[in-house]
């Protein structure tokens, strides 16, 4: 992956367009929520609790699912890779690694973010919640139960990201309409095609969480 290769490939396609860019451009708004949250995060992020600089590994601490973890990572390591490779929280998946697909979604200070697009050092001092932190022991979170009930998963690789995104969405929209679900979960992609079940599951989970 020399610089030549990078510059060759990162040319934007002549005839392609970004799904989100396009949607934003024409004001349809579909699928933009994940990106929008990310942008907000970037602006709102407080300075890291501990100063960190490279090169080489630096000590950091991450507050994951209510537990503090101390680890050494290079400043270029993403929150996703820190969670997966340094801490063994493998629920968040690496798929696009470019903030498109949402398979790596975690909740950072109450907001859904793409963990592949947040540096681990920037997540210090913030509350990180992963899919592993949503269930209470063996008791599944209502969103997970609804996903199982409506068969909102096939290979399951996008599922943890969807579950976390749905949880964060329902925290902000406890009583969503079907249309709001379609807009609100537009930041996650599935290849097996489980969206029909996911729509039903999120609506059912909303009912369950309202009690």
């Amino acid at each position: 992956m020399g610089s030549k290769r990078d510059s060759d490939i990162q040319k934007k396609p002549k005839t392609g367009f970004s799904r989100r860019g396009f949607m934003r451009g024409v004001g349809l708004g579909g699928g933009a929520i994940g990106t929008a949250l990310l942008e907000k995060e970037a602006v709102a992020a407080p300075p890291p609790a501990a100063a960190a600089s490279g090169p080489g590994e630096v000590p950091i601490s991450l507050w994951v699912n209510g537990k503090e973890h101390k680890l050494n990572v290079e400043p270029r390591v993403t929150l996703l890779d820190a969670l997966r490779d340094h801490l063994s929280y493998t629920g968040a998946k690496r798929v696009c690694d470019r903030g498109t697909c949402g398979a790596c979604t975690v909740i950072l200070d109450g907001k859904a973010v793409y963990a592949c697009s947040v540096l681990a050092i920037d997540a210090q001092g913030r509350k990180i919640q992963t899919v592993e932190g949503l269930s209470q022991g063996s008791e599944l979170h209502p969103v997970m139960k609804a996903f199982v009930h409506h068969d909102a998963q096939q290979c399951g690789f996008c599922t943890p990201g969807f579950v976390v995104a749905a949880k964060a969405f329902l925290d902000e929209h406890p009583n969503p309409s079907d249309d709001q679900v379609r807009d609100g979960l537009g930041g996650n992609l599935c290849r097996c095609g489980t969206y029909v079940g996911i729509r039903q599951a999120v609506l059912e989970a909303a009912k369950g969480m309202r009690g």
Binding site: K11, T90, K93, C96, C155, G156, N188, L189, G193, Y195
Partner: protein, 719 residues
């Protein structure tokens, strides 16, 4: 020998019920471990250096700087000096390092001097340019009947041009593996559709005995036909691990490389001419088509046309392969079928429009050309009813004056299926425990769940009390999951194994129940005399009579002699209802109606999921997905998920699935549903858009730009 036939539809207690998938909680909670999640003690991180060029020769390669980076534990050269690289993404070298960042540094530190070869790259849709560049390999003409005479006599002739580009698999879990040597033996954790066979494939690459490799896989993140082999990256990971004293190595392709080299689906472009009578009866077919599946050429079977409507009496079929410097084709869910369905159904729809006939009538009128006319006619009518065809259909383009145009379109499909070879081993323990083992895999289709349903139905034991073991090549061999053959293979093998074991249990308890073994049945956790529940014992009591040695039995599905348990060959019809905004070119799916022929359905819930998922894949293919190659450099321009677009939750409209779960079809036995519903959708959507806007958009995906271009071209033709 037990009577293996399935219980009557109304007698089934577990099969046929919409049971939640048994690994659902594990997946939804994030506990499910995939190949990319496997982290072994002392593990190294592997990474590939791949070709930035579509065609180049390696003059020299220098890995010395890479090897010097602290933490780098191995570098292997795949493409040494003199090697010709035939596509972008071709493997050049591999590295392993203590941390992934260091592996990336090492890859960047490898110096390669390339001789870039001045090739004439072609985009496969450009047949004339491909011909000029001598990149076309014709596969010969096939003629049936007398097409020349038939076209002379035809009352109407309709012609059209159509194209569907190369798609890639874009499996969310990338291709690769984690593996480690332990002496001469290897523990191997691939992401595969082929648990029983993949170790042998890797062993062949490494030139070691297959039994030295132990393959495991609990879950896998999508394959769709691209994950049968071990691939070069497994061999390199194995070498890196060996070179590091057996330390585990995890190596999966990054997204860009996955899109470039881990499989694609051949394109299909061409011209089709149809001759017909005024009443819509097709009398003649002429198609000239081309496709590319990468450098090897070929990859698409044009002889499947006219698709479904096979028996058009007079036909001429010409097909050519275009040779391009791109990564190779792999099987893609229903190989060939979505492409030939799209071209065939588009041509039929254009014929109907030319005749000002209702295409539904034309598809019905010609049903005698299909292998199963009654099935297709009933499905066409059913799907039409589901979209309210009678009141919602209009002549092509007669869709009002406003900017939003609504249209309906039809697509048809078929698939064979049947069942792969599989062996199942069933064990009944003296304590009442039941184990079922197969070297199969659950791709997310629900294989685990349906195996347990079959075992539970056969033994009368609740699903929760059955231990199922799959995903390990030490279990009895089961076929690779491809071609919708898994459900047939594993259900038949499981049925036979469990009934064979049960027969032995009956023999052990016959004396105690005072009836011959053949008179016993297993129902609701009891063994009882048939028709006399008062003479019974509980499952646990019965198992205690076994003695100390468990009962084991195997059952086999032999693909050549499937018996009456499974079958192959289903039809399917889908009708799409779309809105198109002719000012922006945006296509919105309102609804897709699915009328799917099926056999015995073991689990209607996971069966419906297969249909939903397949339709959503068709929406991706019809509206968004496309590999965009640069004609000057042969570079894959959109090899990342922001630009290789998949449909999101908002893009798919409403999907309604009708499965023919009726005794007549149930009697055929189990038939796979992985591929059948992925075939008709693209054709249906394309025809619906044409019906809405009044003009054929020749090449999909139907992006806003293509829709607007087709409308503009039409206006120019008119003025």
């Amino acid at each position: 020998m037990p009577d293996y036939k399935w219980p009557a539809m109304d007698k089934r207690r577990v099969m046929g019920k919409p049971i939640e998938r048994i690994d659902g909680p594990e997946k939804a909670s994030g506990r499910a471990k995939y190949s990319t999640d496997i982290k072994l003690p002392n593990m190294l991180y592997g990474m590939l250096l791949t070709s930035p060029y579509a065609h180049a020769k390696v003059r020299s390669i220098d890995v010395s700087q890479a090897e010097k980076i602290p933490g780098v534990k191995g570098v292997t050269v795949i493409a040494g000096p003199g090697t010709e690289l035939q596509w972008q993404g071709a493997e050049i070298a591999a590295v392993a390092a203590e941390r992934e960042e260091l592996a990336l540094d090492a890859v960047r530190a490898i110096k390669v001097d390339y001789e870039v070869l001045n090739d004439h790259f072609v985009r496969e849709e450009d047949f004339a340019k491909a011909q000029a560049a001598q990149k076309v390999q014709p596969s010969g003409e096939v003629v049936t009947g007398d097409p020349d005479q038939a076209f002379k006599e035809a009352e109407v002739v309709s012609e059209g041009e159509y194209g569907i580009p190369v798609l890639t698999h874009c499996c969310l879990e990338s291709h690769g593996q984690t593996l480690a040597w332990n002496g001469e033996k290897m523990e191997y954790f691939p992401s595969t559709q082929n648990v029983s066979g993949i170790a042998g494939d890797l062993a062949k690459q490494l030139e070691i005995p297959a039994e030295q490799i132990h393959a495991h896989q609990d879950h896998m993140g999508g394959g769709f036909g691209s994950k049968f082999q071990s691939d070069r990256w497994a061999a390199e990971a194995a070498k890196l691990s060996k070179g590091a004293g057996g330390r585990p190595v995890r190596l999966h392709l990054d997204r860009r490389t996955e899109l470039q080299i881990a499989g694609c689906r051949p394109s299909f472009f061409g011209k089709i001419k149809l001759g017909a009578k005024k009443d819509g009866t097709i009398t003649a077919w002429d198609s000239t088509t081309w496709s590319t599946g990468g450098l090897g050429g070929g990859g698409l079977n044009a002889q499947l046309m006219p698709y479904v409507y096979r028996e058009v009496p007079n036909r001429r079929i010409n097909h050519s392969s275009i040779v391009t410097h791109t990564g190779g084709a792999r099987a893609w869910r229903a190989p060939n079928h979505p492409q030939v369905s799209f071209l065939t159904c588009s041509a039929m729809d254009d014929l109907a429009a030319k005749l000002r006939l209702d295409p539904l009538e034309l598809f019905i009128k010609n049903a005698n050309y299909t292998a199963r006319a009654n099935v297709y006619v009933s499905q066409l009518k059913k799907a039409a009813e589901m979209v309210n065809w009678k009141s919602n259909w209009h002549q092509r383009g007669d869709s009002g004056t406003g900017p939003i145009k609504r249209g309906l379109g039809i697509g048809v499909g078929t698939w064979q299926g049947l069942g792969h070879n599989a062996t199942c081993k069933a064990t009944i323990h003296p304590d009442g425990g039941v184990e079922v083992e197969l070297g199969s895999q659950d791709l997310g289709t629900g294989t685990r769940t349906i195996i347990k349903q079959v075992a539970s139905e056969s033994l009368g034991v609740p699903m929760k009390d059955i231990k199922l073991n799959i995903g390990d090549n030490r279990y009895p061999v089961a076929g690779a999951s491809g071609g919708s053959t898994t459900v047939g293979g594993v259900s038949a093998a499981t049925r036979k194994a469990t009934l064979n074991a049960l027969e032995k249990l009956f023999e052990a308890v016959a004396g105690g129940l005072g009836a011959p073994a053949a008179e016993l049945e297993a129902v609701d956790g009891k063994i009882q005399v048939k028709g006399n529940p008062s003479k019974s014992m509980t499952w646990k009591e019965a198992c205690r009579k076994i003695g100390v040695t468990p009962i084991t039995a195997t059952g086999e599905n032999n693909n050549r002699f499937p018996g009456g348990l499974i079958d192959g060959g289903v039809g399917g019809v889908q009708i799409a209802d779309v809105n198109v905004d002719v000012e922006t070119g945006v296509v919105k799916i309102n609804k897709i109606a699915v009328a799917q022929d099926c056999g015995l359905i073991i689990n209607p819930k996971t069966a419906a999921s297969q249909c939903y998922g397949a339709v959503i894949m068709s929406v991706c293919g019809a509206l968004m997905e496309e590999r965009v190659m640069d004609a000057q450099t042969g570079v894959f321009l959109n090899a990342e998920m922001e630009f290789y677009k998949l449909a999101g939750i908002k893009d798919i409209g409403d999907i309604e699935v009708h499965l023919d779960i009726v005794p007549e079809y149930d009697a055929r036995g189990v038939i796979g549903l992985g591929e059948p519903p992925v075939v008709p959708g693209i054709a249906a959507i394309a025809n619906a858009v044409t019906n809405a806007i009044g003009v054929r958009v020749p090449t999909i995906p139907l992006t806003p730009r293509r829709v607007l271009d087709a409308l503009a071209a039409n206006e120019r033709r008119r003025s």
